[in-house]
Each structure stands twice: as C-alpha cells, then as structure tokens.
Symmetry: D2
Subunit: 329 residues, 4 copies
C-alpha cells in the first residue's frame, strides 16, 4: 500500500519533507500547494506530484494524508479542513500561536478520528532517540535531572523575530518538547530568565536572545534549559540526563571526524551548522514514522497533545520571563 500525500507549503521545510517522502517506499507525493505558484511548480517537478490549491487537496479522493508546512497562521484552517475530509495530518510546529486554537484543533482532530502527528523532529534524531531508549531501558536508573543546551549558529533577522512569538515559542518550544519526551513526567512549575545579549535590536523588538529556564515536576525532578541565538562553533544541540546510576549525554555532531594537532593543541571540526544537515536523519525518520502510522493505524507520536503541552510551557516561560516570577502549570 502506498500512502498518497498532499503537500501543503513548498518552502524550505516542505522541500525537506518532499525529499524524505521520495526516499521512502510506502508513500508518494500526489499533489502540492503553495501560495507562490513558482514554489509549487518547482516542487511538483521534483516530486512528480500535481499542483493544486490547498482546498482542492484536502477534498481530493486520491489523497490519504496531508503534510502541513505553511505559515503558522494558516495551520488552524488547514487542520480543520483536513480533519473534515478524514485526511491523516502531519503538521509542523508550532500548531498555532494560541493555546485555545490548538485545543480547538485537538477537538476537531479527535472528532474526526484522523491520525495527527506534530513535527517535533528532534525526537527522531538518532542520538536523542538512542538516549531516550537507554533511559527507558533503565541504564541510568531513576531520573533526577535533565539539562538541555540549544544554541542557533546565528540570529534570524529582527523582522523574523518580530512575528516569531518570541524565543520561548519559536525556539525553546523544541526543548520543551524534548524535556517532556525525556522526563516522562509532567512539569508543575517553571521559572524563566532571558536577556538580549546577542543583539540589542532583539531586545528593542521585545524579545530575548539568551535565556535559561528551570522546570520542576511534582516528584521534585529538575530540568534546566538554556538557549541562545548565537553559537560561533555551529548549531549547538546537546542533552544531558542524570539518574540514580549515572549520566547520559548526547554530544554535537561535528562536520567530520578529523582532528588536527599543532602547537595550538588538538582541534576538531565545528558542529554541523545548518539545521537541515544536523537533523537530516531526524527528518527522514520522522516522515517514515508518519507514513507507517498512517499505513498501519498505530497512534503517531508526538501527537497533537504534545504540540499543545509544549505551547503551554512556551507561553508560561514567556510570562515568567516578563514578570520575573515563577509560573505554576
């Protein structure tokens, strides 16, 4: 059985998913849509799919599932449309900037009974996935503390920052999902701090570029997260987890395994810079899992509730950072 996909959004992330689908045996792109005709046509050529408009795709009988990679403010309508027509849905994060809207999407998806997967690709990174499998296998005993470091190579333009919802919703949301994924217990309290140290213009725009958060669970487990919009040495993506019997850590992926030793010491490559390169395997594994879930009817994770919970944490962190006080969840 081949899952027939309608691709909504033909920008960078849409192209990534198209490439993943092309590499998979059990799925094909049947149709693509984008507000920019040229983008849609280019991806149609690459995938062999037809250009249609988004509404048409949702109503098409020859479409089993939609992959939504359009701007965030279009997600709400597309999810409702796809659910109405009984299509399986893969939606990029964030599902919506409003927690209320996500809840309404959740209702619509639940009522329609369609599979839904949220695009938290990092869960599928082979390193993080292996780390979590080891936690689950009990390799470090009972969990005590999770520490996540996430730093972009360089900040996006301030124009992007302005409509991003802020660092906690735009960037740290990935880390909130990772924290939930690894901790396996709900957080009950959160305290966030943040500053504009990288670029004062980001501060002027009302956002921060450097931030740290502490979260705690009801049983007293602790999670530390730090984010920055800048890292000279590449895309810094690390996780460290402590348990009663030891520690697990996932280190950065470097560009090569080559080391040079000179008078200055021993030098290895920077971390892979570009998120598409760093998470290439994750994007493929994520889409593989979605296709599989659609094909065999198993529940896909991360689901729409995971998208909701991460957004709730991002909202709380935004509030905590603004007020300077912790927030109970």
């Amino acid at each position: 059985m081949t899952i027939r996909i309608g691709l909504l959004g033909c920008g960078r992330i849409g192209q990534v998913h198209a490439l993943s689908i092309k590499a998979l045996d059990g799925a094909k792109v049947v149709a693509v849509a984008d507000a920019m005709p040229a983008a849609a046509e280019a991806l149609a050529a690459t995938t062999g799919g037809a250009v249609r408009d988004a509404t048409a795709i949702m109503g098409s009988d020859d479409i089993d599932a939609v992959v939504i990679g359009t701007p965030t403010d279009t997600h709400f309508d597309l999810i409702h449309g796809a659910a109405r027509y009984g299509k399986a849905i893969f939606c990029e994060k964030p599902i919506d900037m409003s927690v209320d809207n996500i809840r309404r999407c959740m209702d619509a998806v639940g009522a329609a009974g369609v599979p839904f997967m949220t695009g938290f690709n990092r869960r599928f990174d082979p390193n993080f996935a292996a780390l979590r499998a080891r936690i689950a296998a009990g390799d470090i005993g009972a969990l005590e503390l999770v520490a996540i470091t996430s730093r972009d190579p360089s900040p996006p333009p301030v124009s992007y920052i302005e409509r991003s919802g802020g660092l906690f919703r735009d960037m740290m949301i990935h880390d909130f999902d990772m924290a939930r994924f690894l901790m396996g217990e709900d957080f009950v309290r959160l305290h966030a701090v943040g500053s504009a140290l990288v670029d004062p213009a980001i501060g002027t725009a009302g956002d921060v570029d450097t931030a740290a958060v502490i979260l705690t669970t009801a049983t007293g487990r602790i999670c530390q997260i730090s984010n920055s919009r800048r890292a000279a040495y590449g895309y810094d993506q690390r996780v460290e987890v402590h348990g009663a019997e030891g520690m697990l850590r996932a280190e950065n992926q470097l560009e090569t395994t080559v080391e040079i030793a000179t008078e200055a010491g021993f030098r290895r490559d920077p971390a892979q810079h570009f998120f598409l390169e760093r998470y290439r395997a994750a994007y493929l594994a994520e889409m593989t899992r979605f296709i599989e879930a659609v094909a065999d009817g198993t529940p896909a994770e991360p689901d729409i509730n995971d998208g909701l919970q991460a957004q709730i944490l991002a909202d709380a962190a935004t509030r905590s950072r603004e007020t300077g006080d912790p927030v109970d969840l």
Copy 2:
C-alpha cells in the same frame, strides 16, 4: 625569608595544607594545634612542628601566619584572635555560618590590616584557572552565560547533613564562588529549586540533595548551577562558559587516559572520585599563593569579602528554595 606557619586544626584538610607547606620552599609549619591531642601529635611528627594550643599559637612571636582548618563554629574566635596578634590568616570555607559574623570578622581583619585568604581551592585548579585566564584574555569575547555542574560521588552521612547548614551553604557555596570568579559581575537576582531525590532521609532532615539555581546580573548575564550529592561515575566537576565568540569548557579529570574498545563500545575511566585527588594541584597552588601573598605583601584572593559574598548567595538560595520564589540580592 621563610613564612612560619601555625596550623590550627589537624584533621583531613589540615593535613592537606601541612603537606602543601612541606612541599614549598618559602614556608614551614612551626606549630600545630587540635582539640584531639593525638591528631596534633601525628601532624607535629610529620611536619616537624611543635604541638601548642591554639591560643598560644596566635600569641607566639615565632608565627607569621595561621592556617585555620578547625570546625566552622570556631573560626570566628580564631580569626579575631589571629587578627589581634597581627597574624596573616588563611581560613577554610565557610568562614562562618552567619553573614553577620563574617562581616564582624571582616571588620576585625580590616582594622588589623592583616592578609586574609579564604579557602576556595577550586579557583586554583589548573583547569578552572586556565579557563578563567582565557576569559580574561578575551578568547571567547564578551561573556553571556556560565553553567556549572558539581556532583559529589556519594552523599555524606545524614548526621553530617544535619549540621552542615544545608546543601547551598555546604556544597554549592564553592559553585557560587566559582560563578563570581568567572562572571566578573555581581549577581542581582537568584532562583533556586531543590529536592531530596538521592536519599529521603536528607529530605526528612530538612535539606535537599539535588538542586539547580539560576542567577542573573544587572546586565542580563545568566548563570546556571546544578548540584547533586551523588554521581555514579566519580566526582563531577565541570564548568562551561559562553561568550560572543565561543565557548570554553573544563571537563572532568579521569583516572587515566586509557580507553578500552569492545563490543560494548569505547570506554574511558570514571572521573577521579576523591576530592583530595581531584584538587591536589589546586590545594598546592592555593597554599603557594597564600605564602607568596604573606611574603610579598600583595593582596590575596579569594579574600574575606569573597567568603562573605558566597555566603550571601548561599543564604539567598536557601531562602529561595524554601519559599519557591526568586530572591533579589
């Protein structure tokens, strides 16, 4: 010129300092004192010093400096006595459990004009000292974030915990000093969380064994600290510092450089377990600096104000953990 030392306290830390002094050319132990005569006699034999009582040592003409390694509640009187007789003072941390008492010691020391050094040995660890020198040299540009991880191999007995002043004053005080040492800017706000995850009896005793703190400075720089009373893989002592142009990190010292590769993967040794082994070089460098400061009259660091400031942070963290709210400093 040889600095003549009176050693007050012949327990484990007194022995460490005695050994350091023995290895140095510019100093010798002239007299030792301890509440336990056997301990004093043993160290007298090793060092070639005479056994005297503490009061006698402070009043002795043949003593230039005292090294205080007695129980914390005796520090106040010993510092005042030594200051009165014009002796240079090296005092183990914490100087006193009461911030007010430390302030009174500070006044006495200031009035007497004697050199005073606080025993924050980690500043002298070759790794942390090198890391700080690189910050000062501008190797990573303007500082943004400091992250300190500090985990003991295993918890002390609950009887020790009960009179320790709590994790923040007994253990994290070292990290507060390290944070100040590296950050080079005062902290203005602090939020601490903590739990008893290692041993419920520690919780019953009113303390925590797992804790995390966020500190911020007036310019928005951030410091994250995490502590645990347990680390299966040795004495975990790491520092990571981010700046505009890069990151510095000091990793653990492992027992050897040997790696074994088998079906299970590539395995290196645990981190050095024992604090005396891990910080041997630091203890020697610390005493070297004290002797040097006494000999040439240069101001010693960390000084008594450093001891005070760390205690203020430890008190604030204790309060923040108890109330659940941040504390302004």
Copy 3:
C-alpha cells in the same frame, strides 16, 4: 544532460551504486545485467532500468557509461568490451588479480580514450577527503609519516578467503590506495608481515588475518599499515598523518554521539559496523564524481593507473610476507 548508465552486476555493490545513481540528478540507470536473472529483475524494478545481457548493454546506443560490479574474473572482458564501444567505465576494485591483465586493460582504455574510474570509495569518505585537503593546504607542513589502521568487524568465510587473492589483495589494497592518495609520492620499498591469529583455518588456507606493512618513499617518508580481519568494537577505519608542523587524524564514526557515564566509566558507542553504513557518503560522492567526470570530460580519479599501482603494492606485500624479506618496487 543525463548520463545513461548500464549496470553490470546486481549484487550488493551493484545495488549500492544503483541507489546512488537514483539519488543523483544527472544520471539514470537504463539497463542492468546479472548472471542471476532474479537479481537483475529486482534491480530493474528498483531503478526503472531494463534487464539486458552484459554484451547487449556494452553495444547499446542508449548507454553512455557502464558501472562494473561483477566478480573480479569478469572485469577484463567487460572493460575491453566497454572500451571497444566507447563507453565510460566505472570498475570496482580490484580491476584484475593479474597486474599484466590490468596493464592490458589500461592499454585498451587508453586506446579507446574513454573515461575510467576505479572504485576506491574511501578516497571519497568525507573524513579522509577532508584530511587530504588539509595536507594539500599545508596545514601540517611537509609530510613525514602516514599510519593507517584498518580492521574488519569479523572475518569472511574461509571459502571467500580462498578465492580472495589473500588479505593484501582483497583488503589491504584499499589501504595501499589510501597510502598513495595521502602520501603523494611513490613508494620504493615495502616490507610486510602477517599471521593467522584470528582463525587458524585462514592460515591453513594459506592466508593471514593480521598483518602489518612498512613502506618507504625515495625521500625517506614512511607509511605504516596494519590490518586485521577482526575488531570487536566495529569497523575500525583510521588514518593518522604526521608532518613538520603537526598531525592530522581521522577517527572512527561511532553509531551515535551518546555517551553513558556509570561506575564503569564513560562509554561511547561502538564504531559503525557495516561497511555500507560506514561508507554510505563515500559511495554517493564517488558516483557523483564519476557522473560529473563523464558529463564534463574531466579526468576522473582514482583512475586505472591508481588501480594498477595498488595492485602492484598488494602483490609485493604478498611476496614480502611469504619470503620474509623486503621488496623493492
């Protein structure tokens, strides 16, 4: 322009190349051939190419290039056939077990003026390629010594060993090519030793499973190679190069970046075990280069002379190991 490929040999390595070609924009598989009809049909289905016999492929007008992945003893005829019909040729190593035969192939290829590339995939491994680029850039100054370690995860069946030509021709030939690739100067003398330490049956079959070779150049540069048919910790593929100003080394690729720290120490994953996984990027880069060379007429490397020179070294090493004496080249 799309390069039209005829794939000769549909076994494991043929499938690897087919997959690479599928992923490339500038080429497509037009026809496939294999002595086993089922293998040919399976690969035809995957690639969209037609099943033809090898002779037909070489004479086809709709074929620009052949990729030869058939058993070694068929290479000679296929190369001659393809050269006669003016097809570009990619041929797996070894080109032939006989140095004389390779010379005759070289003549035929030279006379026909067709592009020819030898399948020494490791030159295209991103790590080794980066290492060599740094040598070329002068990062470690004038070259002094190259050390290559190459160990298979486990030995092949003795039946394979018996018709393999021996370890030096079957396995170390890759390292001889790597040595030439990195050294950039011809070797003039070689001394090889070897033993059957992994499996006595390999010794009974007249071969060795553990071997070391020293090669020297006219200017006195030195190369050390060691091989084993066994490595408990994965597929061990390392290169170390020393120059006047430093050292470069390419380390193994581990399965993930995850490290676990327990009482036993710090443990990372084994090296990637399977050669197709370890050299996936190399196989793709190799075929990319071949297609490019065919398309733009640039000389492809490694060429047929590289295949010849590696075979000459492998023959010499075999002889040296048997006689116990060095061989002049």
Copy 4:
C-alpha cells in the same frame, strides 16, 4: 626501616630521583656525588645528604643502595663497584652502549646477589601500567598487535645526537622495553626503517630522526613502533594494543581539560611538553618500587636482563636500518 641512598650523578635525572626520595617515607639521601662540585653541593643542600666522591659512596657503611644517574660510559665501573660492596643498584637506561658490557654487569650483579633495577620509567606511568594490568586481566582477550607511537617535542642538539648511540639506542629503547612489557612474548624478528626528515644535520651525523619498526614473535604477534624527534603538539606518547576481544589505548596527557569552541572548531590543549612533567608520576612510582624492593627483598622489575634485552633490540634495529634488511633475533 629507612633505606639510605647514595646518589651518583646530580644532573637533571639525579635531581628528579632526589625529589622522589624526599617525598618517600622509607628512604633518605645520605650522600651525593657528581663530577661537578657545584652540582653535588646544590643537591646536597636540597636533600640534606653529604657530598662525597662516588668511590667513597660505594664503600660507605651508611649506604644501602645507589641510584646511578651519571653519563652512560661511567655506568660499567659504578655497577661493578656497587655490586662489589653489596649495594642495591638503581641504574638509568641505557645500562651501557655495549651489549657485552651489560652482560658482564649482569654477571657481576648476579654474583653479588644485589637487587638491580633498570630505569625504564614508562612502565610506571599510571596510564601504561593500567593498560598492562588490563591486558593481564584478560580484558581484551589474547593479544594480537601492539602499536607504540613516541615522538619528542623537538630534537636535541646534533652534538648530543652524535654521542647518543643513535635514535634506536637513545630514544626507541624505551619503546622496545614497552613492547616487551606489553607483549609478554619474545620477539624473533625485526625490521627497521628510518630517515632524517626533521633535520638534515642529523642525517649528516649518521643518525635518523624519523623511524618505524615492525617486530614479530614466534607465535606471529606483531608490534609496530614509530618514533620522531619532533611533534609540534607536545610530547606524543601513545600505546594501542589489540586483542581477540577488543582494543586498549592510552592517549596523551594534555595540559588541562579545557576545551575552547570557536568558529575554528573545538580545541583542546597540546600534550604535556616536558618529559619530567609528563612522567612525574612515573618517576615517583618507579623510585617507590625500588625502595620497596630493597626494603623487602622482592625482585625489582624492570631488572638488568630487561635492560639487556632492550639494548639487543636497539642494536638490531640500528643494524636493520643500516642494511635495509630484517634481523633475526
């Protein structure tokens, strides 16, 4: 019981041993001798020993053991003298440049029945000692291959080279001993190559500065050694051992554990440069073992036969390098 030491030779290595003895409880330096009165007096002041001449020391009743750190050409007479007077002997490597002379020393020592230890300090390096303990514990199964890399930070003056006996006797002799120490089986054949790549003047002086050797045992085990008189990145001292079930490797000791990450990548410190710093722990452990062996009458290792065997290998390597042919041992 305190072992009373006579120190013969007050140069750099004599000072190292004097410092070790000072740090040990069971021994003291009673007398020192050196051809240069100033050197003897300086070390007498440091150790508290008396200045005597070497002959007097050997005949003194208040001396239990001599530590010989004089120029190599004086060792023969000093060993014979000390043996005659029944003193325990610690002698720096090489014992003598002539294998015949070493055999005669061996006879004298054997006849006198005095303890004798050869100064192959690297056996006592904590890393190499741990590595060997793991081989002995069977951690990697039956041994197959030993690879030793040893590179000095920079070449000594040519004047030193000229009277050094050549690289194989002066430098690689340490690695020959390490090879014997780790392999635990005699070598039967050896092939050495070498060149003057670092400094042509070394070649003019008849020596090499870059060398590689292959050794084999009767059961077919293999050892690879490489040496260079230059390493930009510090004193390169590494060992790698392969067995049926895995690999052990001892990596270099770096100056600190600090890593810096910038645009250029991740950089750690150079290896410790100075041999006294790199092998400080080894020198102390070596002298500790000697004192212990003298005190309790247990046989000390490495013994005089170890000194002889390493010299035999160094002679054979010198000859092999000169003739270009392997040498049977």
